[in-house]
Amino acid sequence: MEELLDILKSLHADVDFEKEEHLIDNMILDSFDIVTLIAEINDVFDVTITAGNIKPENFNSAKALYALIQKLEDED
């Protein structure tokens, strides 16, 4: 989780990612952030997020995103 928070903070140093649960609905993350995130998650966690998983509910909070990463890690 710490590693994921580091990635998120490098995108928006001013956002409290531990609390924020509406990253998409509140338009904090835009398409450029999503692309960057997916690439860095791929590097750090060695999981591939494909189109089917790129959905608002998976990106609205750090918690949801971390849950997705864990799910993908388990599938490996």
Binding site: D30, S31, I34, T50, A51
Partner: protein
């Protein structure tokens, strides 16, 4: 000969009055509604005595904003789009420049508009304007008095001094652009556009005006769709969208995540892209998914009204090859000029300069910067003839196709936008805690990297910059350093910065 952009609207409304012109998927306007509303807006402006003036349109991206644009032109004025996506500081600079007597708002933006110094401008709600009775005689007089060099809009682009430049375009350059583009991309009455760009850039001309010319339909795709590739393709299929002109990053967002294995665009037949390099690997995925579609690279500066050059991709490209920008549309010429003002020789690099009707009128209320970029053609000493110097360096390859090489200055292309790194630095340097700052661009990863010396955390700096710079200009990486490397002349040593960045 057509000398007024709204001739397209006046004619199409007789042919397909009940067809949908513009829609965002929720709200739609038919051609007769666009026509009627624009006539009411024009009549409102006439009654107010607002004529040949800039009129700010500060509305949410929606079909009625487009009708507002045409309404402003109907009144003999020119529209200046402003959007709540823009940072407050930039909006204020735009308002300061144009000093518009009127700011057209919707219910959501009206409150926000009050927070600005409107320079004496009055806020009026669009919905109130469209109740105005139509002054047919006055509107006819205004229409007849227009000449094709009258401005119709001003859109703002990045400026290195931190003050954005307002590019003013006229009927003539827009008509010329729409005619050439429509022919090259083969638009017709069955075209269904899926528009990706905001309405405050000239990029949206590609959809807005051909829709009028042919009685086509434009869908304004919600911005949120562009974060979610499957939802985006489903949107295209739901509305049977067959034509898109998107920035490359929007296209690669779809292809990079194997979206096509889940869902494919079923109706797309025309794909145009531009403003940045299309990685060949991603391009191939698009072409494999849509073997029947045409793919066209577009290139052009805002100062020459939309796009200027095109290249239809038909041959194969190697992974490390760049897709050319091809050749100019008809009725404009690209001159490749060397530093000493002569035409570049075969294969030689030169600055891409444009001549022809496509040239806009220049930067609004800014004669100094206009004179720097819109200059006398150095190859012609016999009579006045302006060319626009893009600052882009290009050359012709062995197939005589124009290719983009680099920028002459600190301007970069990022997320489809032309950005002056200097504008970012000026905004950083304005903060009292900052002693020095420098921006470099990581071309490989497409990231803006900022180095600064000062007593402020990266976090506070990011928050402060968000009030001043548009989202796409915010640095992607910020590093606080103890001291700035300098060259022997005392200038910031960007080469050293870049080297230390690349070394990690």
């Amino acid at each position: 000969m057509q000398n007024h952009v709204l001739k397209y609207l006046n004619e199409i409304v007789k042919k397909v009055p009940d067809k949908t012109a513009y829609s965002d998927g929720t709200v739609s306007l038919m051609f007769r509604e666009v026509y009627a509303q624009s006539r009411s807006v024009g009549s409102f402006l006439y009654k107010k005595g607002i004529y040949k003036k800039p009129v700010v349109v500060f509305m949410q991206r929606a079909p009625r904003e487009i009708a507002a644009f045409f309404g402003v032109i109907t009144g003999g004025d020119f529209y200046v789009p402003v959007d709540e996506e823009m940072p407050a500081g930039r909006i204020q600079l735009i308002l300061d420049n144009v000093k518009s007597p009127l700011v057209i708002c919707d219910e959501t933006t009206a409150e926000k508009a009050k927070a600005f110094d409107l320079k004496g401008g009055e806020i009026v709600l669009y919905d109130d304007m469209i109740g105005t009775g139509i002054e047919d005689e006055a509107l006819e007089r205004i229409y007849r008095s227009a000449v094709d060099t009258d401005p119709i809009y001003i859109v703002f682009t990045s400026g290195s001094t931190g003050v954005p430049k307002g590019v003013a375009a006229c009927h003539r350059s827009v008509i010329d652009y729409i005619e050439q583009l429509s022919e090259v991309l083969a638009f017709d009455g069955n075209t269904v556009f899926g528009s990706q760009t905001p309405l405050y850039f000239d990029a949206c001309l590609k959809e807005l005006y051909p829709t009028l010319k042919f009685g086509a339909t434009t869908y304004l795709i919600p911005r949120s769709c562009f974060s979610f590739p499957v939802a985006l393709v489903e949107y295209l299929n739901r509305y049977q969208i067959n034509t898109i002109c998107w920035v490359v990053s929007a296209l690669t967002m779809v292809s990079a995540f194997d979206t096509f294995q889940t869902v494919k665009p079923e109706y797309l037949r025309t794909v145009a892209f531009g403003s940045e390099v299309f990685p060949i690997k991603q391009f191939r995925r698009w072409r494999e998914a849509l073997p029947e579609a045409t793919f066209t690279n577009l290139y052009g500066p805002t100062e020459c009204t939309g796009m200027c050059c095109y290249y239809r991709v038909e041959r194969e490209f190697a992974d490390d090859e760049a897709i050319p920008i091809g050749r100019p549309f008809e009725n404009r010429e690209v001159l490749l000029l060397t530093a000493d003002g002569r035409l570049a020789g075969e294969g030689e690099e030169g600055e891409i300069c444009v001549r022809g009707t496509a040239l806009t009128l220049g930067y609004y209320n800014d004669p100094v910067r206009t004179a720097e970029a819109f200059v006398q053609n150095p190859l012609n000493t016999a009579y006045p003839e302006l060319i626009y110097r893009t600052g882009d360096i290009g050359r012709h390859n062995e197939k005589d196709e124009l290719v983009f090489v680099s920028r002459k200055d600190f301007q970069i292309k990022h997320m489809g936008h032309r950005i002056e790194l200097g504008e970012i630095e000026v905004n950083v340097d304005m903060l009292p805690e900052i002693r020095m700052s420098a921006c470099i661009y990581d071309t490989k990863k497409g990231k803006i990297v900022l180095y600064f010396v000062g007593d402020i955390s990266e976090k506070e700096l990011t928050a402060a910059l968000k009030t001043k710079l548009p989202r796409y200009m915010l640095p992607n990486r910020i590093f606080r350093i103890e001291s700035m490397p300098l060259t022997a002349n005392g200038k910031i040593d960007r080469v050293t910065l870049k080297r230390s960045y690349e070394a990690g």
